[in-house]
């Protein structure tokens, strides 16, 4: 099979799926016909600047419509996705400080994290439980999912802006690890 054929195959495979596919899965289908990574790179170049572009994230590879076309495509989805302000803030804290307990999220936000807020995030598949903190009560630890990256168009968590870019280094949690912003 020529390189062109391998490209057609991967193109079809990715087009057929609404969810990102891992490189391993793509290689599995490709078999000896080609090297997934190289084929994906060629395909990404081919689609660069088109109405549909090939995206890579920790969740895998997926075709998505180009973001700049959003206004013209707005009417496509009659029920646009919504996340409440509380859900977005909670998600931001989880993304930066994961794995993090509900109490820790509440300490940052200064208000209780309602069941509805967590439900919203879980429903969208953006967060997931990540075990327990080994302290009395063994509270659940929360973290983001690969879907979180796909949802916000991030290649990895490293694509999140450094928080000191916000003009404040105090909330430099990721990497810093266990800093408690409540000052406790």
């Amino acid at each position: 099979m020529s390189g062109e054929e391998a490209e057609r195959l991967v193109e079809a495979l990715l087009f057929a799926s609404a969810e990102p596919l891992t490189e391993a899965r793509i290689q599995e289908v490709l078999g000896a016909r080609g090297e997934a990574r190289a084929v994906l790179a060629r395909l990404r170049t081919r689609y660069a600047g088109r109405g549909v572009v090939l995206e890579e994230s920790a969740a895998g590879w997926a075709f998505r419509t180009a973001p700049d076309l959003a206004p013209a495509l707005a009417r496509l989805d009659p029920r646009p996705r919504r996340l409440s302000r509380a859900a977005l803030e909670t998600l931001a804290v989880i993304a930066y400080k994961q794995p993090v307990t509900r109490a820790e999220i509440e300490a940052v936000r200064g208000v209780a994290v309602s069941r509805g807020v967590l439900d919203q995030l879980l429903e969208h598949g953006l967060v997931a439980p990540r075990g327990h903190r080994e302290v009395p009560g063994r509270p659940v630890l929360w973290g983001t999912t690969p879907k979180f990256l796909d949802f916000f168009g991030l290649a990895s968590l490293d694509d999140l802006p450094r928080l000191d870019e916000f003009g404040d280094g105090l909330f430099a949690a990721r990497g810093g690890g266990t800093e408690d912003p409540s000052g406790a």
Binding site: R64, G110, P181
Partner: protein
């Protein structure tokens, strides 16, 4: 401190604050950009002024707003003591509050950043008509000779019935027939279910039961002759059968 106009705006915004910390952050931002250098005394005054305005307008405030007010008032009183007397504890609490405000501020900015990303399903769309890929079955084929032969005999029988109009009187399979059938079919040395060696019979339950009985009798006879072995691992369970190896003693 706070002008009347400012107050107006703040009171109108009350519904927009999710808790006292959120309100404090908003007040602090009006004071300075650098939250690390926020003046705690000024912040406390702004908060208390806002609260007073809210109460004048009879806004229903959650108790936590009042708790925070009391705490700020206390903090302010201690911070306003002559410099020499300002206690370290009060300073630490002020630093703690600045840190909390900075953390909430960062979380809110991060939330704004996420809000403005090109969301999947909002700015970026996945394939609207995902296709189910076909399944290709690659597993080994499971079918044995007995099945094939039974299928043929059943077909032959059906064809026979269709052709011969006169009714053949039914009689049960004889033990001799079953014996000849079983003796020929049972060649393996692995335990097999005796029912796998039923000769093909009509599809009615009575004929099948008779065939099973005849085959069991045939099996017992062959076992008596030392040609095969029979075993029933549990009461009423399937009867297993295998050919005895040459030279093996019963």
């Amino acid at each position: 401190m706070v002008s009347g106009g400012d107050e107006e705006v703040l009171v109108v915004e009350v519904a927009g604050f999710s808790g006292p910390l959120d309100l404090l952050l908003d007040l602090a931002r009006r004071q300075r950009v650098d939250l690390a250098r926020i003046d705690m005394v000024e912040l406390a005054d702004r908060y208390l002024a806002w609260l007073e305005g809210a109460r004048r307008r009879r806004l229903a405030l959650a108790a936590e707003y009042l708790v925070t007010a009391a705490w700020l008032l206390y903090l302010k009183s201690r911070l306003l003591l002559p410099a020499a007397a300002v206690d370290a504890e009060a300073e630490a609490e002020a630093v703690g509050l600045r840190r909390r405000l900075a953390a909430l501020d960062a979380a809110r900015r991060a939330a704004d950043w996420l809000r403005d990303r090109p969301w999947l399903g909002r700015e970026r769309h996945p394939r609207g008509r995902p296709e189910r890929l076909p399944m290709r079955r690659t597993g080994p084929l499971r079918v044995d000779l007995a099945e094939l032969v039974r299928a043929w005999f059943a077909l032959a029988a059906r064809a026979e019935r269709a052709r011969v109009v006169t009714l053949v009187p039914r009689r049960p399979l004889s033990a001799e027939e079953a014996l000849s059938w079983l003796a020929r079919r049972l060649t393996g040395h692995d335990w097999r279910d005796l029912r796998a060696f039923l000769p093909p019979v009509a599809e009615d339950p009575l004929a099948r039961r008779a065939a099973l009985a005849a085959t069991l009798v045939a099996g017992l006879e062959l076992a008596r002759r030392g040609e095969i072995e029979l075993r029933q691992p549990r009461p009423f369970g399937p009867v297993l059968v295998r050919r005895r190896r040459r030279g093996e003693r019963p």
